[in-house]
Each structure stands twice: as structure tokens, then as C-alpha cells.
């Protein structure tokens, strides 16, 4: 790989823009395709499919020669709304999974460095905190854990608008039913609201904060790795 290609790739990755490297394994010919350049590319449909699935792999070039397409999607960030007990349990587990965690909570008594050593904390209301965090995107997971609609709702609205990779909200079915009414009133349709995992977490019978944290992260992984789950529609075509 040419150093300038590698450098351009790293620049895209640093800016959290997806990019692909297309390589001819036979002669080593290689080029970078930025997400914005896919539509105009002769390999457009193949590259789009690869980017969508997030899976690198071999494909066929226009002349029938094999091409290797390496997908470089931005690393997933995990935004947790609420500096609560479950969030504390999430910190070490998320770090083990390589998820870059940020905790947002305007209540400074909760969002204190003593409770969250070494974690990126933003002790602001979601609107302000998300400005500071930077734009949410399709490579961000968001979990709302405060139980307080004043804090959770604006974050969920922002996550839905940004088409975040994963959106989850803590609370009972009753709490969620009221949340659904508020989101409907805010103009979201059933399909959008249906993207929110609520009650949050895979049903593993979790009780303790650590167990709930595990169930949330299991659901995040299951969502991000959807296309690899055996028996899933996405996996069936592969």
C-alpha cells in the first residue's frame, strides 16, 4: 500500500467517515474509496453492499478478476445517558468490548469523576452534552438509563434522528408505553419508535446492576453483529 493511501485512509477513520480499500490480490493494485465516492465507483453496488454489512471480503471486479474489499467502518462509540449504578457496571465491560464509552448526566452528584474514574463524563443536559460530544451517527450506540424523561427523551430523539446503530431505553413496559406516546406526539412513526430496545437488554433474567449491564451490552453486540447471527435473515444470504 502506498503511504499516501494509508495516510488518506487513516484521515477518513480519524474523521469517523467510512472508507473502503479495494485491492487486486494478484497484482497488488489498490485504491481508497471514500463513502461519498461509492455511487460514482464502477464497483458501486459491491462496495455499498460490503459497507452496509460491515464485512470485508473478496468480490469480483468488472473484468472478472477477484478484488478484495476491506471495509473500514468507524469504531462504535457508546453514549450512556445517566451516571447511574448500571452505568458504573457498564464501564469495565464496555471497555473490554472495545466500545468507546461516554456518560452524560446533568446531575453533577451522579456524574462525578469519583464515581466514574477514567471515563469521559459530560455533566450537561443532553442537548448541550451532545453538542460537546459531536454529532451522533450510524456508528454510535445510545442507551438512556436515567428513568427521567427530561433527560432520556431528548437523547432518544437525537439518537433516532441520527439513525444510531443501537438505541435502548431503561424502564418498565408501562414506562415505555408513556414514552411511546410522547415520541408519537413529537412526530415519530411506529417504525422509528420500534427501533428503541425497551425494556432495554437481552432477557437473561438480569437482576444486579452488573447483570443488567451485561444484558445491555449483549444486546448491543447482537445488534452490531446482526448479520452474523445464525438463522437471521441477514446471515442466511451469506
Amino acid at each position: 500500500m502506498r503511504l499516501d493511501t494509508l495516510s488518506a485512509l487513516n484521515a477518513e477513520r480519524a474523521a469517523r467517515r467510512p472508507a473502503l480499500i479495494v485491492t487486486d490480490p494478484e497484482d497488488g493494485g489498490q485504491r481508497l474509496v471514500r463513502a461519498a465516492e461509492i455511487d460514482a465507483d464502477p464497483l458501486g453496488p459491491l462496495l455499498r453492499e460490503r459497507l452496509h454489512s460491515g464485512r470485508s471480503g473478496l468480490g469480483e471486479g468488472p473484468d472478472g478478476r477477484p478484488v478484495f474489499v476491506a471495509v473500514h467502518a468507524p469504531p462504535v462509540r457508546f453514549v450512556v445517558i445517566g451516571a447511574v449504578h448500571i452505568s458504573q457496571a457498564l464501564v469495565p465491560l464496555a471497555s473490554q468490548l472495545g466500545l468507546d464509552l461516554t456518560v452524560i448526566d446533568p446531575r453533577t452528584a451522579f456524574a462525578s469523576p469519583e464515581r466514574f474514574p477514567g471515563v469521559r463524563l459530560i455533566a450537561e443536559w443532553p442537548a448541550e452534552a451532545l453538542r460537546e460530544f459531536g454529532p451522533l451517527d450510524a456508528y454510535t450506540a445510545v442507551a438512556a438509563l436515567t428513568h427521567d424523561p427530561k433527560i432520556d427523551d431528548p437523547a432518544l430523539v437525537a439518537a433516532l434522528r441520527a439513525d444510531c446503530a443501537y438505541i435502548g431505553a431503561l424502564g418498565s413496559r408501562k414506562t415505555h408505553a408513556r414514552r411511546v406516546e410522547r415520541l408519537q406526539a413529537a412526530g415519530f412513526d411506529a417504525a422509528a419508535i420500534g427501533r428503541i430496545h425497551a425494556p432495554i437488554g437481552l432477557d437473561i433474567g438480569a437482576v444486579s446492576p452488573a447483570e443488567i449491564a451485561l444484558s445491555i451490552l449483549a444486546q448491543v453486540v447482537a445488534t452490531l453483529r446482526q448479520d452474523r447471527i445464525k438463522g437471521s435473515n441477514a446471515a442466511a444470504g451469506r
Binding site: L6, P25, Q30, V76, G98
Partner: protein
């Protein structure tokens, strides 16, 4: 979507900018059970220092040896490892899978 190769490509760029000779190995195909998914990287410098993984340790030694040759002659090549290969006597995948690894020099 979960990325674990975040620092490897940055290291590859940094090493090259420091003036070190650098090769990049990438898993381009796997069959059966393979320890590391397609797209996984191993970066190697001219002094055999390396970062990352293409097989969880099974064939790294052989990849590094080939990478030093790629650094030498600049010719990219594709390596194949698996239990069915002759190379399995030297470096094989105990899990029974097969992998193909593309090795190229950073120029």
C-alpha cells in the same frame, strides 16, 4: 462493526513515517473456523517487530518471515495456511480452518 484494528493502521503509518521498512498483512479469505475474521491486520517492520494478529498466534511466525521478504523485494503476495497444506508442518491452524493472507509493503 466493532473495530479492533483501530491502532494497527495508525501504527503502520507512524512506523513508515519514522523511516522504518513496513509490511502490512491482511486476512482476505477464511474457510471453516478461523481465529481472526477477514480484514484483520498484522503490521510488521524490518526488525520483525509486529502489532496485531491474523490468526491469534498460529501462523504469525510464518507471516512475519514472508513479510520480511516482501519488505526486501517489494512484491506483494498472497499466502495460504491450513491444516491441509504442507505448510501445516511448519505453521498450521489447529482449529482446522484455512486462511489466505495478503502481504504488501508500505511504500
Amino acid at each position: 462493526m466493532l473495530s479492533t484494528d483501530d491502532d494497527i493502521l495508525r501504527a503502520a503509518e507512524g512506523w513508515r513515517r519514522e523511516g522504518r521498512a513496513v509490511a502490512l498483512a491482511t486476512v482476505i479469505e477464511t474457510w471453516g473456523s478461523a481465529p481472526r475474521p477477514v480484514g484483520s491486520h498484522l503490521v510488521i517492520d524490518g526488525d520483525s517487530r509486529f502489532l496485531g494478529s491474523v490468526s491469534g498466534g498460529c501462523v504469525e511466525g510464518a507471516v512475519i518471515t514472508e513479510a520480511l521478504e516482501v519488505i526486501e523485494d517489494g512484491r506483494p503476495r498472497t499466502l495460504e495456511f491450513g491444516v491441509a497444506d504442507e505448510t501445516a508442518w511448519r505453521a498450521g491452524l489447529s482449529c482446522g480452518g484455512r486462511i489466505r493472507v495478503f502481504v504488501e509493503r508500505i511504500d
